[in-house]
């Protein structure tokens, strides 16, 4: 079946849209036009793809995980190595793309929100490379648990603004970034870090990440001569997952699984399992599933992983969930931490805690696979940034 979402007005089924204050309407319209122009602009496309190749280090490898495969004794497991991107996660594919767009639009100042700090680092990196002023909003709690990334952003010349409102995590950093944008809309470009926000952000961010899935398809074709049976990715806002899934959506035999952070458990209130537990509503400019109270107040999410600690999800995932094209499940903090250890020991790769949520689901998925099935996990980032959390976790376990 042909997959054409979103519509011209930014809807994936009934999700998406542009729920923003009037002040942002001109900015969004300007962005839509500029983005549209870049789609058919060979000079822009060439510069973007050259940067991905020469600066980000693409294409990233597709690694056969032989010892992890042996561990489960079922289908073959491959890892799409976004952890090998410059700065250590997939986020830079999008940061570079949006920065080129900002430059084209003549904006002089860049703002961004960040949770795990990977999007903040990617944005600060792109700004350094192109000489832009850069302000990153980050929740106080996240600044603490991702301190390494705070130091990196500062070294790269970005100003990191601590956000102390609300839950002091990604949701609140996003609120503050939007307030900054509303205030400085003339000269400021907001580089959103996931497939969230008002149209055209979810579409645009997806398209800057689709290279992940496109490469995977080519690489697997060369390696195995066929399509995968399963794709597995973690979902915070959903950018690494959608970039990975999107090029396969019309391949009906490819099953796709998105893993949300269940925190202490999807049946507790300490969770970030938006699709499993959430209901429909509007947050940060689009209609999607979200965690909210009966009164429509946004609830605080919880996950040990700063990058998944978000009560919303990109509208396209809500659509893929409702239509059953992608299946979504939750993985708890402790399951994810066990997967951090397993991948480290079995493959010599220390994954980000976000990524480890996807890896943890192999425990459930692999037993139902056949020997000749192929499972590809999107290894969205590396775990250096998480060493403090990881060490503390395992020393408490002893």
């Amino acid at each position: 079946m042909k997959y054409t979402a979103p519509t011209k007005t930014g809807y994936f089924g009934e999700y998406g849209g542009k729920f923003v204050p009037e002040i942002l309407i001109p900015a969004i319209e300007e962005l839509e036009i500029a983005y549209e122009e870049t789609q058919n602009d060979p000079v822009f496309q060439k510069e973007y793809h050259d940067l991905l190749q020469e600066y980000v280090g693409r294409p990233t490898k597709l690694t056969y995980a032989n010892r992890l495969t042996e561990h489960y004794r079922r289908g073959k497991i491959y890892l799409k190595r976004e952890d090998l991107c410059h700065t250590g996660a997939h986020k830079i594919n999008n940061a570079i793309g949006q920065l080129l767009l900002a430059r084209k639009m003549g904006k002089s100042r860049i703002i961004a929100e960040t949770g795990a700090g990977q999007h903040g680092v990617a944005t600060a990196t792109a700004c350094a490379k192109f000489g832009f002023d850069c302000v990153i909003y980050m929740g106080a709690e996240d600044m603490e648990r991702q301190k390494l990334n705070v130091d990196r952003m500062q070294l790269l010349g970005a100003e990191v603004r601590e956000v102390t409102s609300g839950s002091q995590t990604l949701k609140d950093a996003t609120n503050e970034a939007i307030r900054d944008w509303v205030t400085n809309v003339d000269d400021t470009f907001y580089i959103i870090g996931s497939v969230v926000g008002p149209h055209p952000y979810p579409m645009m961010t997806r398209n800057f990440h689709r290279v992940i899935g496109e490469e995977t398809k080519d690489q697997l074709k060369k390696e195995e001569g066929r399509l995968p049976n399963y794709l597995l990715a973690c979902v915070g806002g959903g950018s690494n997952a959608i970039g990975f899934f999107y090029p396969f959506l019309e391949d009906e035999d490819v099953k796709m699984i998105g893993i949300e952070a269940a925190g202490l458990g999807a049946d507790t209130d300490q969770t970030a399992a938006t699709l499993t537990k959430g209901t429909r509503g509007v947050l940060h400019g689009s209609l999607s599933y979200l965690l909210q109270s009966d009164e429509g107040q946004i609830q605080l999410a919880h996950s040990i992983s700063a990058g998944l600690d978000y009560p919303g999800i990109g509208p396209e995932h809500s659509y893929l969930y409702d239509t059953n094209r992608v299946h979504y499940f939750g993985v708890t903090d402790s399951e994810a931490m066990a997967a951090v250890k397993l991948l480290s020991i079995k493959e010599g790769i220390i994954p980000a805690i976000e990524t480890a949520h996807a890896l943890a689901y192999l425990d459930k998925l692999m037993p139902i696979t056949q020997k000749d099935d192929i499972v590809v996990v999107n290894c969205s980032g590396r775990g250096d940034k998480d060493m403090k959390t990881i060490s503390e976790w395992f020393s408490e376990q002893k």
Binding site: T9, L283, G296
Partner: protein
């Protein structure tokens, strides 16, 4: 289409050309649940002609620190949509002041658009301002709002194009809310507001022709209001009023101090 004139529409029809309407914004449930009705009635006695009652939301992304604070306080106080409608019904027992509910779309969606508009209409609400449901997304609520005789009021900002202003004017009923500065809500220094507002108002006047116009965002004194609303139908004060409450609450006699602030806003003297 709107069948019956709302109190908002009557207000502007009956006002003389040089009269300026003062509209006051207060978050429902701030500073406490008990005071909201009394504050609204007191605002009317002391010079307000229109009330914007805020429906608190946990993530008010178009608001500055003052309204964020008021929203959070009200949510902690236990404000709910049903309690807001109760407050409106209570006000209607003794007052016919035009009353608008203002807030973000999410709590409305959660409550149910049909149920929300029905209860709003029946309790005596005259209009709605939903800052994060611009004209593009208006279809989510506009038909139902019409059905229950609620005016939908949209905003224009200094960065709105002329064409956009005309579109907003077409969609609005009651009045058009002119945001005087590009930014979040919050009281500002007078010069900051006055600086660029003149050219903006000129454009508003030539493009918003169907509806009356009220100017808001950043106004904190009689003097500000006088300058800014010279060429339009009136002005809106929110953050400065909440700041005034925050300064006095819960000291003895805080309400009288707040009402005297309101008189000063309207008349230049207490």
């Amino acid at each position: 289409m709107i069948a019956q004139k709302t109190r908002i529409q009557s207000l502007f029809e009956n006002k003389s050309d040089d009269e300026k309407i003062m509209s006051l914004f207060i978050s429902a449930g701030y500073p406490d649940l008990e005071s909201t009705v009394e504050l609204i009635l007191g605002f009317e006695v002391n010079g307000a002609e229109l009330i914007e009652l805020g429906m608190p939301f946990s993530d008010p992304l178009a608001d500055g620190p003052t309204i964020q604070y008021a929203s959070n306080t009200a949510i902690s106080n236990g404000i709910t949509m049903s309690k807001i409608f109760e407050m409106v019904r209570e006000v209607r027992k003794s007052s016919e002041i035009p009353l608008i509910l203002m807030g973000y779309i999410n709590p409305i969606l959660k409550y149910g658009v049909e149920r929300f508009c029905k209860e709003a209409g029946e309790s005596g609400v005259d209009g709605l301002i939903i800052p994060d449901a611009p004209v593009e997304e208006s279809s989510i609520i506009s038909k139902t709002a019409d059905e229950y005789n609620l005016n939908l009021i949209y905003l224009v900002a200094p960065n709105s194009t002329n064409e956009r202003m005309r579109l907003v004017d077409q969609h609005s009923n009651g009045f058009v809310y002119c945001v005087s500065v590009t930014g979040v809500t919050g009281a500002r220094e007078g010069e900051e507001v006055a600086k660029s507002v003149e050219r903006f108002i000129d454009r508003v006047k030539s493009n918003v022709t169907k509806n009356p116009k009220l100017v808001g965002f950043g106004i904190k004194s009689y003097e500000d209001a006088k300058v800014i609303s010279k060429e339009v139908d009136g002005f809106i004060v929110g953050s400065a009023l909440i700041d005034a409450i925050r300064k006095e609450y819960p000291k003895k006699g805080w309400k009288d101090k707040v009402f005297s602030f309101v008189r000063k806003l309207k008349f230049g003297k207490a």
